[in-house]
């Protein structure tokens, strides 16, 4: 399936300064795998060392949070748009 991944502004510097990347994928996992193999520098900002999506990284397929779909196993349709949106967290020690 041909899908589009919107790259969030802070990460565009690691994706050839692109606002979006078109790629072929059947699931969200495949799409993010393809994206991070194409742009290896993105990986550490999306995934933690154990290979899981970082807790503050949210992924949407056509505005639907994948946590409420089948998470990274969510299947994609031709023309779907994937958005990556951080939630912001922090605090004192």
């Amino acid at each position: 399936m041909g899908v589009k991944v919107i790259i969030p502004t802070p990460l565009r510097q690691f994706a050839g300064k692109r606002e979006s990347v078109d790629l072929e994928a059947n699931t969200v996992a495949e799409a993010l795998g393809s994206l991070t193999s194409q742009f290896g520098e993105l990986k550490k900002h999306l995934y933690s060392d154990d290979g899981r999506l970082r807790s503050f990284v949210n992924v949407y397929v056509n505005d639907e949070d994948i946590r409420y779909l089948q998470k990274e196993k969510t299947t994609l349709q031709q023309g779907d748009t994937i958005s990556i949106v951080p939630s912001i967290a922090g605090g004192t020690e």
Binding site: P10, A89, G90, G91, T92
Partner: protein, 144 residues
């Protein structure tokens, strides 16, 4: 260098004092001109960490998208975030680092016994290992 108008600094301080002893948080909207950035507006947000708001803050992805839309509507960018450290120094914690992305400017300011004190800005290195301090230039009026 992060340029911030005094009126906006005052608003950030007021937010921190109002929410003390809890952490306050909000979005920084403005222009990114490469080495220099100018904050042109703020989106004060609600700290969603109800379980430990005195030493943690959280901004939902929905609020992030809201701030992005507000920036876009004004022809600006969402260039960073501010949050307070109640009774703690204005430097990033390990918890801050684990939850940050490069590129964003992170303003942290200390609120000591309810009084806003030191304000500093930080940017995470591309390798995620540590932050670099970004100087803040306090300006009396924001150029448009």
């Amino acid at each position: 260098m992060l340029r911030v108008g005094e009126a906006l600094i005052e608003k950030i301080h007021e937010h921190g004092a109002r929410d003390y002893p809890n952490e306050c948080c909000g979005a920084l909207l403005g222009n990114d001109e490469g080495a220099n950035r100018t904050v042109l507006g703020l989106v004060p947000l609600v700290n969603q960490r109800n379980d430990s708001p005195r030493n943690r803050f959280s901004i939902t992805a929905d609020d992030v998208r809201l701030a992005e839309k507000e920036a876009s509507a004004k022809g600006w960018e969402l260039i960073g975030w501010y949050h307070s450290h109640p009774d703690s120094p204005a430097r990033p914690s390990e918890f801050d680092r684990e939850h940050a992305w490069p590129w964003y400017s992170y303003i942290i300011f200390q609120v000591e016994k309810g009084e806003p004190r030191e304000m500093r800005s930080w940017r995470l290195d591309d390798d995620r290992v540590k932050y670099q301090e970004e100087g803040i230039e306090f300006i009396s009026s924001v150029p448009r």
